[in-house]
Amino acid sequence: MSRPSSEQEYAIEAVNLVKKFGDQRVVDGISLKVPRGTIYGFLGPNGAGKTTTIKMLATLLRPDEGSAKVMGCDLEKETNKVRQCISLTGQFASVDEELSGRENLILIARLVGFSRQGAKERAIDLLKAFNLEDAAKRQVKKYSGGMRRRIDIAASIVTSPDLLFLDEPTTGLDPRSRNQVWDIIRVLVRNGTTVFLTTQYLEEADQLADRIGVIDHGRLIAEGTSKELKALVGAGRLTVHLHTPDDLAKAKTILEELTGDAVEMDERTLKLTAPITDHGEAASALSRLVTENLQISDFSMGQPSLDEVFLTLTGKTTGQAESEGEEADDNQAG
């Protein structure tokens, strides 16, 4: 890490952040800690308060209550110091669409203090790094979605920031571009940048984030690693495909007997889904099916998807969800 601040291990330490728009508490008491050099995923549906939280942490909005330290600097009192070590890529293109990619990068480079020549060189380096050399002189509004996102992120790392905020970095991108953005984020983190990203995509949080915070109605309703969140929802599952409807029915009976739980059956695709607790149980179930001479065409083991995690968490009544949120807060404090 580029700063001599070894004793400060957190990139973000937020305590009870609140933002009100009118009498609506858009962000309603969010506390979180993000260790340096990690990716923190902020997961939630539209309107949950993700962007507002990011805007507060990136010095764009003043919190109505609460406080935060960003890269060891107080958000309120050391705003300019915070600005020197962060960078923000907003939800909507945060570059000037009328200008070319190259001009945008030069513009930002000049504004962070590069010399005229330095800014030009930096722009060339970044265009190369982000595969945008061919589009350097084209106006950004003529870029494809993926290219736009890349120039956006390139503009955010004109000076390598200690902390990069990415607000829904892959919303609306095709899978290929999305993978490119993910790769970029991984390289960034390998080089010591801390990334705080918001997403509506559970897969994205699962793929990238070291820790995930689930936000709903301005509150953190759960927090942890992707594994921990999945564990919160409970069991994993075993999926078995069979060859014939006969086998399907037999296998269902066997699995239900073994797990003592309801087994989901899909007669069209000849698929069974059974809840299981560990790999051992799955292995014995499979061997049992084989000894019974049932023809298994395919099987897979899966942990619950984050989708399920999210539904389980937000599907609860508000009262339950709130106590969950407090639990998450307690965990952080401890």
Binding site: L60, R62, G90, A93, L99, I108, V112, A129, S160
Partner: protein
């Protein structure tokens, strides 16, 4: 992996740059924003219509429409009305500064600018510097055309230059009203509506077109304190050699007041925009 290995190396290289320059000076940041405004003109030269076509249309229209009726001849009226229309044209196009800012806000770039550590007013000062160039272009075109039509400033070239400089100063000051409104009004259309509502009565109920002494008393009272009248009288005075120091100071005070009130307001809303 979709990005090829050597691309990742480029990325790695681009990222290992630890250079973190110190924040740019206020002047350098402002000039950078001026450069941005010039680039926009480069891509959309049509946006210069307002400073090229407006002056021509206004000058021709009002000279030939009112000339005979008001002064008995178009030639005489031209000498009187040109400084007035010059002020009117420039005052009208100041509102585009606010509209551009409003457009920026609706896009993400505004947020990015606000997370960078440069001197905050630079983004507006830089844009206003380039606007001054646009006003200068408008003035040059109008005065050039005026010459062709027979306009003769009685105070020569020097008076003309001072008149235009005073106008540029006033336009710069007036722009802060629009940047302020650009920050608090939701859409550019609304902003356009508001600025027209302010500018139309101000420019017409002034000494732009006619001598105020022909107006009814109650109207004259308003017209005489209208800032546009004050500016028109001073610019006209410079051009025809009748300017008084009182006229000059009044315009300087009005301009300073506009900046003192609206620049801080603009910066407050700039910093605290949701």
């Amino acid at each position: 992996m979709i990005i090829k290995q050597d691309d990742n190396t480029d990325l790695q290289k681009a990222l290992t740059l630890s250079l973190r320059p110190s924040r740019p000076s206020a002047l350098s940041a402002s000039l950078t924003f001026g450069w941005r405004a010039l680039l926009k003109i480069k891509y959309v030269p049509e946006q210069l219509f307002d400073v090229t076509a407006f002056p021509v249309i206004f000058l021709l229209m009002f000279t030939y429409l009112f000339g005979g009726a008001i002064s008995g001849s178009t030639g005489e009226y031209l000498d009187f009305v040109l400084p007035g229309i010059l002020v009117m044209t420039v005052a009208m196009i100041t509102m585009y500064t606010g509209i551009d800012l409003n457009k920026d806000i609706q896009k993400g770039i505004f947020d990015r600018f606000r997370t960078l550590p440069f001197w905050r007013p630079a983004s507006l000062v830089g844009a206003l510097l380039v606007d001054a160039l646009r006003y200068l272009l408008a003035s040059t075109i109008m005065i050039g055309l005026g010459y062709l039509l027979g306009f003769r400033p009685e105070n020569g070239f020097g008076g003309l230059v001072f008149g235009v400089l005073l106008l540029l100063l006033f336009a710069f000051s007036l722009s802060w009203i629009w940047t302020f409104l650009g920050l608090i009004v939701r859409t550019e259309k609304a902003l356009m509506g508001i600025s027209m509502m302010v500018l139309f009565p101000l420019t017409f109920l002034s000494s732009v077109f006619v001598d105020t002494s022909t107006m009814p008393n109650w109207l004259q009272k308003f017209v005489d304190i209208n800032p546009i009248t004050l500016v028109v009288d001073a610019v006209r005075g410079f051009i025809h050699g009748t300017v008084t120091s009182g006229q000059l100071y009044t315009v300087l005070i009005v301009s300073a007041a506009l900046i003192i009130v609206f620049a801080p307001l603009t910066m407050y809303f700039y910093n605290n925009k949701k």
